[in-house]
Symmetry: C2
Subunit: 365 residues, 2 copies
């Protein structure tokens, strides 16, 4: 086994989820990530915790088979009591992203996926209430999506994951200090993106590799009704096995009142129609991980790039909503990215804090 796999597993256990004796742990992973799952089992055994492996992530052949058959039979999705009971009794939830074909669910109807997501929402909420971590195993199909060799992609992933998270935390804390007390943020990029939103009273979080591994962003929740303006998300995203490009959203009073996409617009429409919250923003994030130096069509990495910002339609994370502030509630949470490397700036309460991707507190600013 590549020694970096065991290093990866140790970071998940010790840094991301603070694994301890007696913890009940669920590892959800595709078989292609077997090495990391095995290494996680070693750590779990060593600490006296209790592992259970599941294979419930989208992108697997079985998920596709189930969803298509259920849709063909006009089945009404329900929240499965056994899966909910499992997660309720789970202390630590580790999801490993990796697959054999990232477009495996591309022929599942978007409304089927959305209905399934709605039915599984209580399970997803339960997971987010635990110590949890989402990480990546560098499988060949993910390398292919990134346009990289498998070995090159392995280097990319493990460089981003197996790093000094204390140093990263300190760097990002400078941006948290700016945003945390702020009232309003404006994001401007070229002629196509100019959006303002209030974040007043909502805490800004420092993501240094706990819930997401790799981490590398600071993020908060916009006040749901405050978002005004338009955004062209010029980085593509993969959602349910399909690429959506050039998402353009116009916000009025916080809600998306007009939308378009270059490719797979109907999938975007389906996302926005999931529920009321799916038309509002649940997250604003600022990418700050300079070790992620290329776009790999993988949100877990892309949203952490140093010269990007991202916004998510759908659910806000509880810990980014200040007491007494309104939260945005939804069955979905879909991140989309704006490239800020050129002709772009971020303004916080009228002060420019980033220009063309460089922060005011960075060298070269």
């Amino acid at each position: 086994m590549d020694p970096r796999v065991r290093e990866h597993a140790a970071i998940v256990a010790d840094h991301s989820v603070d694994l301890g004796a007696g913890d009940t742990v669920v590892i959800d992973a595709h078989p292609v990530a077997e090495d990391l799952v095995v290494a996680l089992h070693e750590v779990i055994g060593d600490r006296g915790a209790h592992p259970l492996t599941t294979g419930q992530r989208t992108g697997e052949r079985n998920r596709r088979a189930y969803l298509r058959a259920a849709a063909a039979a006009d089945v009404e999705f329900e929240t499965p009591a056994h899966e909910l009971a499992l997660i309720e009794e789970t202390d630590v939830y580790i999801a490993v992203r990796a697959g054999e074909n990232v477009t495996e669910t591309s022929d599942v109807a978007p409304e089927t996926n959305a209905a399934f997501a709605r039915a599984h929402r209580p399970i997803q909420e339960e997971r987010l209430s635990k110590r949890w971590c989402l990480t990546q195993f560098p499988a060949p199909a993910n390398a292919q999506l990134a346009g990289m060799s498998t070995e090159g992609y392995e280097n990319f992933v493990w460089d981003a994951v197996n790093k000094d998270w204390d140093a990263q935390r300190a760097f990002q804390a400078e941006m948290v200090e700016i945003m945390d007390p702020a009232e309003e943020i404006r994001i401007k990029s070229g002629e196509t993106t100019d959006v303002r939103m209030s974040i007043a009273g909502n805490p800004t979080r420092n993501d240094y590799g706990e819930h997401n591994l790799p981490g590398g962003e600071v993020f908060t929740a916009p006040i749901p009704d405050s978002v005004e303006g338009e955004v062209l998300f010029d980085m593509p995203l993969y959602h349910q096995g399909r690429e959506i490009t050039d998402v353009h959203l116009i916000f009025e009073g916080g809600a998306v009142v007009s939308h378009s996409a270059g490719k797979n617009e109907e999938l975007l429409t389906e996302v926005l129609n999931t529920d009321d919250g799916a038309r509002r923003l649940g997250e604003l994030g600022i990418g700050m991980n300079r070790d992620i130096d290329r776009f790999t069509y993988n949100m877990l990495f892309d949203e952490k790039m140093g010269d990007t910002v991202h916004m998510a339609v759908g659910r806000a994370y509880d810990d980014t909503v200040g007491e007494g502030n309104e939260t945005n509630d939804s069955a979905v949470h879909v991140d989309m990215i704006v490239d800020m490397s050129d002709d772009s700036f971020i303004e916080v309460d009228g002060e420019r804090v980033q220009e063309d991707g460089t922060f005011v507190f960075e060298e070269g600013a």
Copy 2:
């Protein structure tokens, strides 16, 4: 996908576990069985049931890694609350046997496996209280164990599984009629096996592909204290990734008072020392599936062969213990086989019902 895989999945769903709308289902399988898992998901989706896949079976790399690390750290195994909660809320449990290396756990200490089994006993009991099915996927490693080509083994497995279970049920019912009201059974083979036991008041069950697929045996529980005599199990068995050969047991007052084995005797000793019930018989079974025409080192098939009997040390199945009769309780259930094809007979209340493998009610008797 081989069309026999979908046929296999349909038999599991409709014949073995009577799958219905709203059922919560756990499928436990190694990734090498993916085709069958996918086909099961199609049926589950079609019926409006709820699938969850887990990978908890022995023989996987992750199980080995966990057990070795836990043993090295002197961890006390406990019953994991999340896995128990999952199974408590599960209606249907489907275990698929298949692996990439049947000796994967051969370097886990037997006492570690035994301690793990004891801690997981409440989960195992909960599973057995559900609609459940144990079946086989014809993976290359299982073909290798059988000394067969993968294609030859696929034919063997699907011939045994995808068959007319109503006809098999009727054939076996003839033996159930003989054993069900009987008091005593004697098994004699050559000079090495001569054992008597009472089955008075214990129901004899007809296994026609429900809990085991393939099925093909009739079985009951001996009265625990009644077993007297000796048995040489001349067919080898695989237990926890290791072969045990020529198991020889001497019974007095129902308990094993002396034991030996040709190979891996210490593993046999560990099994017998698991708990008190591990030294007594929990099952007597008569193989009756003539489509299983060769020994493949796989108990799920071997114990169903037409000219064999098998006995299991350890736990008795609840439905084979008559009201008011004593049951045998244990964390283990380990089957062992006697070849009855030559110089052998089965006597029921003094009447020969099988001689050299041929039943009295069969052609050629």
